[in-house]
Symmetry: C2
Subunit: 403 residues, 2 copies
């Protein structure tokens, strides 16, 4: 937890006014939880950011349509894992619409107040009959204490569920923000991350809610990468129930934004920690960039470099690879003023190597929460990006994902 | 071998007028060959392309300087493996100059007629004393039949040496083109590849030689990728001895360019086949792009995707990942007209999945020379790029490269 907000347990049902459920619809071959439902007691204000991948999955298209038609109001979110419903043609569009229509019928709201998300294998037909059959059970299971089960139902290759919740005070009223997210491959969100669902019991006008989400996403879900892959299904949804009675306006916005950021950072870092095959969380801090965009670009290039990620996996302080990536990142870079630090140890500074410090850096790299700094020597701007190491397990997980 | 040129055995010493040597200078800890020398009997016409990485290694800086000062003439090339001499500050620059000066003294030519290249770990001091001590032995070992030994002396993590040679006829005279190259990590050349040295016994005016190299590199060394990493040391050198007596001019240029392309393609594909941990050579053919630059960009994005590379490694026809990468590649893309073929098998066409063809594609993926086609549905342009699969061995090789 960051800032003036304080931590609390729970996830999407930590804020008042939300119930959730996670059930098994039989989409996953192993019979695991694969259908999640999140329902607000009354219509909630809703904001979303979606993938900018041009091969957008059917649920992304449908959810965007519904948000437009409802004017930013949502009663329910229905999510399946085990099938991405992407590249599935007209049948996939029909399946995504069907999921929202069935849910709307059960909840008792217009279909456009239901949002939908899917995650899993691309290009495989959505088993809509299984989902239709399982929805009534999900509806019956809805409860304010079932957020953790919903968080497990949206997992694919994730090694653990990601939940986060924070509380803050707005106009003297206790307000909660809660969320759940899933990774863990195809993670380099360009406007959003794979799937994240955040709720609050504050009352937030839609434009302010959309602004809060946009600002938060840029420094959290958009600042992480596992494998440089932007998914077809990336979706972040933020729902505000207003059930706390606290209203967010311009004056109370900072407190709300801080709580939202705290939850989003924890979920985003959870996605990286649970990245496919990941054993280490790595914070990449790029400084000395010509501008913020170049700082972010260099940081992302380093964070996605297989040579950097494998070296970190092996605990090898191969700092030359960091400089090599910075030099090819297409940003202003001055080798004679550049530098590298691993933890507190300087390995390269103003163009001179300090390779005798490598053993100290190697010792530091045995840890699993690491900070790496790269100075471009070209200006004053900086950016922070989070990534994970690249292990042989990443290859094992992805070499036979479908089988 | 491609085109009207015919194949021949050998490498850089296949063309007349060149001698080579490979010796052990003790740079590599295992005592393997690590110092190569290539000497032309008379000053050769020379052209080069170098890395565009902004963190250029000392030998790149020195070789570029020398080519400028000599006006495109070279007598010798000295290459060490086991140390990249990159990010080594002023001492590294001095070491690179020292290598050329010692070689020039032994060969009996001006220092600017000696070109230098290095490959190995970045940021480690060049063991110049060892190189100085070994150069006389390399000089004594020079012979027209030692090209294969030179090709082994430039290897780092390469699983096998890369040599190629081709012959053609120019104005009735038999002309040879030969070359050697090394990979096998940090390979996504932006103007050149790691290290490649190509020779010919044709007499080629320098401007024509430079043009031939530039045109060839774009479709060969610049069309391959192993890990998306552009090295600090990438260098391709082309030396023409004229020893065949055949002179290349505008009218005979196509024959020469075809032979050069044949040798370059074989070396470039050798680098990919010998990519770190590689078990499969994959040809990525992107079609239906808005223009050639977008076709290349999409092809490179697919060729560098860890999810595509691991799926191919596992023989998994996970074609949805190909579409997902095409969709995020930042190029014009129309999902409703896009398509994917693996070998001869269609898996996605005009936006419709043919996932029932997956078993046939899986059978094809058991091979180790694979063709994957992705149609963007946005235009008429196309591009071909070569890559390899991503295996757990890649991680093992790179997790402890320095140790």
């Amino acid at each position: 937890m960051i800032g003036a907000t304080s931590t609390m347990t729970g996830g999407v049902t930590a804020p008042r006014g939300f119930r959730a459920a996670g059930v098994s619809a039989g989409i996953k071959a192993d019979g695991g939880l694969d259908l999640a439902l999140l329902v607000a007691d009354v219509p909630a204000t809703a904001a979303a950011v979606f993938t900018i991948n041009r091969a957008q999955a059917a649920p992304v298209v449908v959810s965007r349509e519904h948000l437009g038609r409802s004017g930013g109001v949502a009663r329910a979110v229905v999510v399946n894992s085990g099938c991405a419903n992407a590249c599935t043609g007209e049948a996939g569009m029909q399946g995504a619409r069907d999921m929202t229509e069935q849910t709307a019928r059960l909840v008792g709201c217009p279909p456009e107040q239901v949002l939908v998300a899917s995650t899993g294998v691309i290009g495989v037909e959505l088993p809509i009959a299984k989902i239709r059959a399982a929805l009534p059970a999900a509806m019956r299971a809805l409860a304010p204490d079932q957020g953790a089960r919903a968080a497990r139902a949206i997992m694919t290759t994730d090694p653990f569920p990601k939940e986060s919740a924070a509380r803050t005070t707005i106009a003297g009223v206790d307000v909660a923000v809660g969320g759940m997210a899933k990774g863990s491959g195809m993670i380099e969100p360009m406007l959003a991350t794979m799937l994240a669902f955040v709720t609050t019991d504050a009352a937030v006008p839609q434009p302010l809610l959309a602004r809060a989400l946009r600002e938060t996403v840029d420094e959290t879900f958009n600042a992480i990468t596992v494998d440089g892959e932007c998914s077809t299904n990336d979706t972040v949804l933020l729902l505000a129930s207003g059930a706390s009675g606290a209203a967010v306006d311009e004056s109370t916005y900072p407190a709300f934004a801080a709580a939202l950021r705290a939850v989003s950072v924890e979920l985003a870092l959870g996605i990286v920690r649970g990245g496919e095959g990941a054993t280490k969380l790595v914070t990449i801090r790029v400084s000395g960039a010509a501008d913020a965009a170049e700082a972010r670009r260099a940081a992302k290039a380093i964070a996605n470099s297989p040579l950097v990620k494998t070296a970190i996996h092996g605990g090898d302080p191969n700092w030359g690879r960091l400089i090599a990536v910075a030099g090819r990142a297409g940003v202003a870079f001055d080798l004679s003023r550049a530098g590298v630090t691993i933890g507190e140890t300087t390995l390269f500074d103003n163009g001179k190597p300090y390779d005798h410090n490598a053993p100290r850096a190697a010792e530091y790299l045995k840890g699993n929460d690491l900070i790496v700094g790269v100075h471009l020597g070209a200006g004053q701007a900086s950016s922070t990006v989070w990534t994970c190491d690249l292990s042989a397990d990443y290859v094992r997980i992805n070499a036979d994902y479908r089988t």
